[in-house]
């Protein structure tokens, strides 16, 4: 029993470590003073100012539009790529998968300066377009990795079966295969979207001409001191993500009970549970 208490304390301490900065941000977003050192009373002024701060609103607009377009494009390219890769012979498949790993294994800073070097070499002006191209580039591999397993799980001859019944390859893809792999596509899109919203390093090197995203704004503000409006904005974003995840989780739970699929029963081995 004592060891159970120690475990609880341990989990609590790690969570405290992970959440302390977030709590600080949220608390100071309601601070009446601009300081992050002392508490001057509750206020919503930063939330009001947030919507009048043109620079932050512009950065938010660029962040969200790049994330939406980039993850949509990456999802389409990545899904078709996964389909093609599934049907490749052994060695081209291995080569392509190794290629796919380059941007994942390469440090962000190298990906960033590599794209910068190329855009500069071909004289492409840095801005919205270059940042968008960069985001599509780093998002595609993650889409492929989340869609590929879904193709592997497809029954081997499902496409032939559909075509035997008179479907054209295109029709078979959209009516038979697509619904089966949809969960992987949705996951891929969500990963791509999140990576894009949170990206700093690659955007930092591939943008210019006054086009920034929230991360770049925060980075350039960090030296002068962060405006509390940013705290207010991230509190709002955090709360919306939290609600979104709760809704998704609740829906998934409801779906699984409706379909009668209970979760795999977990049988704690005697002794192992308290070990």
């Amino acid at each position: 029993m004592v060891s159970k208490q120690i475990k609880r304390l341990y989990v609590f301490l790690v969570l405290l470590f992970l959440y302390a900065p977030i709590l600080v941000l949220i608390v100071f977003s309601f601070n009446a003073s601009k300081s992050t050192a002392n508490w001057a009373g509750f206020s919503l002024q930063w939330y009001v100012e947030l919507f009048h701060d043109r620079q932050i609103m512009k950065a938010l607009y660029y962040t969200l539009s790049v994330a939406l377009i980039a993850s949509a494009v990456a999802t389409v390219i990545g899904t078709f790529a996964a389909y093609g890769i599934t049907n490749m012979r052994a060695w081209p498949k291995r080569a392509v998968l190794a290629l796919n790993n380059i941007p994942i294994l390469n440090p962000d800073i190298v990906t960033g300066i590599a794209l910068l070097a190329m855009f500069t070499f071909i004289n492409m002006p840095l801005g919205f377009m270059t940042m968008l191209l960069a985001h599509i580039t780093f998002a595609i591999p993650f889409v492929i990795l989340s869609v590929l397993p879904k193709f592997r799980q497809l029954p081997q001859d499902i496409l032939e079966a559909a075509m035997d019944l008179g479907a054209t390859p295109g029709y078979a893809f959209f009516k038979v295969i697509l619904p089966e792999i949809m969960p992987g596509i949705v996951t891929g899109f969500l990963i791509a979207f999140t990576l894009s919203v949170d990206d700093f390093v690659i955007s930092f090197f591939t943008t210019g001409g006054g086009v920034t995203n929230l991360s770049i704004e925060i980075y350039s503000m960090a030296r002068r001191g962060i405006k509390p409006t940013i705290n207010a904005l991230s509190t709002l974003m955090f709360v919306s993500v939290l609600t979104m995840m709760l809704i998704i989780n609740l829906r998934m739970n409801k779906d699984s009970t409706r379909k009668g699929e209970s979760e795999t029963p977990y049988l704690p081995a005697p002794g192992a549970g308290s070990g």
Partner: protein, 275 residues
């Protein structure tokens, strides 16, 4: 037709935006603009890096990344172990609690340590009320280390947790039936089977830690120069692309080498990495 060509847009994209840019970095590391126009071979970047001043930066980056990987391992492994053994309904919530902080902008989360660690920060005012003189917690190497562990801990916990969950309970039961105690079970069964997750975790922490410049910028207060800072400066302030590209190539080769060594070990263990 669709099946054969559906990977082509992706392959084209990868060549244009991944292979060509990496090649450009290699090119800039070997050549620089010649006075009379065109480019001339220039190995100055690599020669410059051999300077003890820069080798020290590389060494410092490797050491601090190794330290943060080790700390993540020491904190993360017990956490993953606890997570894998609690009741499933708490399990889901706790895993979500560990992922959730990653949904808040990572620059902001890192920045939020400043009001906690600063001279007038939370920790120092707590200590002050106990009569302890303020400590210098910020803008030193330990602060950077803390920022790394804070940002990358989930990358260590999640892959280890995933492999721990896949361990067949019956193996543990069999060992118990044969009279093994908990320590032996851990040493002979649980730990060896968790090595693939451990390796993914090490990669996913070491790689971003060794190449970061944001954490050292924010929490090191420009006191700590890491290899990432060095690269960033060459492209953002000094404009020595030849040198910056040479460092990037060295960093890339170093990371790819260590990954392939770790991967080989992983394959020998018969495991699959997280991806």
């Amino acid at each position: 037709m669709l099946r054969r060509f559906s990977a082509s847009p992706y392959l084209l994209w990868t060549v244009l935006f991944i292979l060509v840019p990496v090649f450009m970095v290699l090119f800039y590391s070997l050549f620089s603009p010649a006075p009379g126009g065109g480019y001339a071979l220039d190995l100055e970047g690599y020669r410059k890096f051999a300077d003890p001043l820069y080798l020290e930066v590389l060494w410092r980056s490797i050491v601090i990344a190794l330290k943060s990987t080790l700390l993540c391992l020491l904190v993360g492994y017990p956490l993953a172990l606890i997570l894998s053994r609690i009741e499933p309904r708490y399990q889901k919530i706790l895993v979500m609690l560990i992922i959730l902080p990653m949904w808040m902008n990572f620059l902001l989360r890192t920045y939020a340590w400043i009001p906690i660690l600063g001279r007038n920060g939370l920790i120092n005012s707590l200590l002050g009320s106990l009569g302890v003189a303020p400590l210098n917690l910020l803008f030193n190497e330990n602060a950077v280390l803390l920022g790394m562990v804070y940002n990358f801990l989930p990358f260590m916990v999640l892959p280890i947790y995933t492999v721990l969950m896949k361990i067949d309970r019956q193996l543990i039961e069999a060992a118990e039936d044969l009279g093994a105690d908990r320590l032996v079970i851990f040493r002979r069964i649980v730990f060896p089977l968790s090595i693939p997750g451990l390796i993914s975790g090490i990669m996913m922490v070491f790689m971003p830690a060794v190449s970061t410049f944001v954490i050292s910028d924010l929490l090191g207060g420009s006191q700590i120069t890491l290899i990432g800072n060095l690269i960033k400066d060459q492209f953002q302030t000094v404009y020595d692309w030849n040198f910056g590209s040479a460092i990037s190539i060295i960093l890339m080769v170093m990371i790819l080498l260590s990954m392939s060594i770790l991967n080989r070990y992983d394959e020998r263990e018969g495991g699959t990495s997280m991806w």
